[in-house]
Symmetry: D2
Subunit: 330 residues, 4 copies
């Protein structure tokens, strides 16, 4: 089968690999849509935990079941599915609490074993979720949406009148749309890129150019504020944007060495919540629910649908200008 | 009636005041037990928001209903009750969210209107809660326990195997006992005062002398860690004590100007929650439930039961050595 | 001012009443939209608890603040608001639990005191909620939507793939749209009236003609099923429609004397939840959030916008054919 | 090894079986305590789903890890553990929602594969939970306690002043103690057996003889009421005992053919919740937390600690008089 893989650190190849076979409790799916995430680049560079070269990257993918292994119940050939990439050990302390994403031995399709950038992918039956009639491209957004929902989960039952998301890239926009669709009156996307802001505006979100006066007017005015840039300088501004009783989410990946200052008294007196997030945690079903609530317009986030060779070029550093989410459309 | 009051800033008097009368929707209670909190001192010093001198302090009190005003339903003379001191406006943004403690115009019995250090106290009928057969001394702990539960509420449904509370004063101990009684296997109280640690130990809590090797062994090992000292230097150590997926609570009152450093990446990658807390939010009923679960031994926290004159002396700076919670027993 | 009122049992008048004045803690609002509910008829017939004639009915209304009484903070003339009609005592057992709708002495605007079918209405400041730029007609749907959300609240955090709502009247449709907008893949509205089903279909809901084969195919197939007809015969079918782990909601008002049969073993073995609901419970803010998430199309439920005289005629029994929600548009 | 097993339907043997071996991802535990449940009898009689003879019964057991299979991380020889008996498929609709107990292909140790009434038991590593220093006898109560918590879970965040549990057998008492330890002021155990009521009283629970006047006085007076008898006649009385806003739980196993009558209007108007329950759902960690909160006195429920031969006799119908929980102590 055709596949994109990392034969070793810092190398990407679009070539041929043997077809996978469904073992006990596994299914093979024919991949139909598979999204690129910055984590793929980190895997290639061996920056993301224990990379296991050679490996087929891709952890955001959907497709059709074409083979059902022995012992699998409840799945049939032809089923349309999306993959939850996390492979948790099931026995560590985090797993026993139901926290797959914090598993001490966490593996993942596309990270530690072969993932979605190949024509066929073999996965455990328990890792796939039926998508009904949703398009494959939209279903392949369920994994990043699941990450957004996981980050948001501790405040999911709170009333939010105004939310601020700094960074209008694909992750920020998914978070913003998820907030909007649950009825948040005002979701403000903030960025330095006016094209991204135009996109946000066209999807019913407010848009605010970074560094303008509007930002200072948000002081203590947002029920929820998230950094989706990964800049510590931006992350440092979150707490000040949040209203009493509100929450700030570190959603972008900051430098490990970066530090920011906070005031314990301020957090105490205004009863704030500061949240971090990492990966997703069994969020695919609710992510599908959220994508359905947004509707097909969410596919507008997918600016490029590329053949496998161009996906390889993108990973090698030739990312198309003005892109949001890039998918391989098989 | 006999009462303790602050006639003006920095002055405390134990003297006589006119008896209060129950107006529309109000009751008068004969105070039976009333606890001292550091907030009382702040009120005296005009350090706690808008003090309204002259004022009777005391916001932790229980007693017996002795007069029922017009329009009050559901309360009778002889009812044994405890007071929720918060007086929220009911119309601001926070109130509309159900957040009494974050009310933009928050008043309180014992802060902006007369409170519990007098023989009789007039309060709105909606501010009192029936205590059944619980002792008045124990019921007067419901307000501080409510503050502990309010701080803890965002993580109340999480599984906690090991909790760390730094600072074994009355507030820290109430928090520690509340954790223990819900089944947390290991609740570690940390302090520099070995007498307080002995007390903790005698109540089934673990005790750890601050600055010892045991502390470093807790690194990334606590599901929940709280600062109950109000020292920013201590607050700065919390995040490091917390395990992946865990929560840190700023429960003590740090200096307003104090700042601590945090790593956004660490909060992101280990999916931590940082929490602040302030006052209580309709927590009296669950606080009574928690006190009942702990049982009468919680009264061990009340080390001194003083007459009104000695309460005045305590507020003036003559606090008894080795005290935990001090109450006026009427 | 012009007003519609019930001078005594079984009588409705559209006439003139003195203008109300804002007392301590109150505001006067100029009513802009006010919806008719079957409860209004019950109030007129003295069938709904303690009616207090004469009374202006109407508990679903929105308008503009035109007078602000003494002691009111946070509201100004010109504010656009909707009213939460419940007037709870604040002191009974239910109130102390935060259950306004179960208050033992529950009153309501439009039931025990004057409500929304008059040009001006005086209400406690704490009873109004800001609506931003939402239309008054849409905001006047917040009260019935609040009832839907209150009924739904115990299962609000559950994943629902398929929901069934039997009865496609205004309340059933509000419930159906609330489910749809949170991302439920399949919301099936069932009714005997094909015009109502067409309406449901045009709003993205599935439609099923009652008594057809499709109903039997739903057996054990719905994560959530609600009766919005008030027919006990229909209510009796709910449990059988619900899948293992699912919930059934008695949302319609059945006859008090009606009884249905259930199997305790079935509820036990399939871990079902049976829910009842009554009124709303501080749900206006989330109801506004839900209405925003649905968007302006929800106004399609308002089939008639009538002058006050025709509202009176409707209450007297001359209900327009084919109506869903009827509002007075001031 | 010595073991008790059902060679075929309606037959029980205490004899010898080959020692099990730990396969990939499995551990072998030396069983130290194993409780008898009525389900064991149902398995023997082939009344409990798909029995797979021959089979070793026992699904309530704790022991020590004595062999660790390949691929197991996080468990070592000597670890003290308890077993979660459920073996869910992981791929069906219920499993995808996180509902192990409703798995469409649910198996269980002691039901479909060999369980706890043998000296050694081989289980998946993901099925065991560390118990710290808790006694094995107490840890073997974690499974039935998990069932109680699972039934209780939908109302776990509610305030309960008074709870009624009808049926003071082991399951009813575990439920009652779980309620008591979270601070419910009044937990009333109701039974026809005065010896059981004495036991309840000695554990801090209220006791009420069935059929006495006290029962009628509870009408509409309990926040929570559970049937733990399995009698439909008893189950039919629950709703009437429950206060407005309260919940009724069908916890006992009624006859499949039994029906009871309910009033949809009553459930609607008083906003009641009716709950069923079945098995446990990943509740072992919180069950251990609850057992710790109750403390060692919960072992008082274990009235008999028998050798394997007498366990066999008990299953064959010779149950000791006056027994509550019976365990095999290895």
């Amino acid at each position: 089968m055709k596949a994109l893989y990392f034969p070793r650190k810092d190398e990407v190849v679009a070539g041929d690999l043997p077809d996978p076979v469904a073992g006990e409790g596994e299914v093979v799916i024919a991949v139909r849509a598979s999204g690129i995430c910055h984590t793929d680049i980190d895997v290639m560079r061996a920056n993301y935990g224990p990379s296991a070269f050679p490996v087929v990257p891709g952890h955001e993918y959907a497709g059709e079941v074409i083979e059902v292994g022995p012992g699998v119940v409840g799945l049939s050939i032809g089923d349309r599915v999306v993959v939850d990439p996390n492979i948790e050990c099931g026995t560590c302390r985090a797993c026993k609490r139901g926290w797959a994403h914090l598993c001490e031995h966490l593996g993942a399709y596309g990270v530690t074993v072969n993932g979605g950038f190949s024509e066929k992918s073999v996965v455990r039956a328990s890792a796939v979720h039926l998508i009904g009639e949703m398009s494959y491209a939209m279903a392949a957004l369920a994994e990043p949406m699941g990450c957004a929902l996981n980050g948001f989960s501790p405040v999911a039952d709170r009333l939010i009148d105004r939310a601020l998301v700094i960074g209008a890239g694909p992750m920020g926009l998914l978070l913003g749309l998820a907030l909007k669709v649950r009825g948040v009156a005002e979701v403000i996307m903030c960025d330095t890129d006016s094209a991204r802001l135009d996109f946000a505006r066209s999807h019913g979100l407010e848009a605010l150019l970074a560094g303008t006066k509007g930002m200072t007017e948000l002081r203590h005015g947002c029920d929820f504020a998230a950094d989706a840039t990964g800049s510590a300088a931006v992350a440092a501004t979150l707490v000040d944007c949040v209203a009493s009783g509100g929450a700030a989410l570190f959603f972008g990946v900051c430098q490990q060495s970066a530090r920011i200052e906070i005031s314990p008294f301020d957090i105490f007196r205004r009863q704030l919540t500061l949240l971090g997030t990492h990966s997703l945690n069994h969020n695919i079903p609710t992510a599908l629910e959220t994508l359905r609530a947004i509707g097909p317009r969410v596919e507008g986030l997918i600016t490029h649908r590329l053949p496998l060779e161009e996906v390889a070029a993108t990973m090698a550093g030739h990312k198309p200008a003005g892109s949001l989410k890039i998918q391989w459309e098989a």
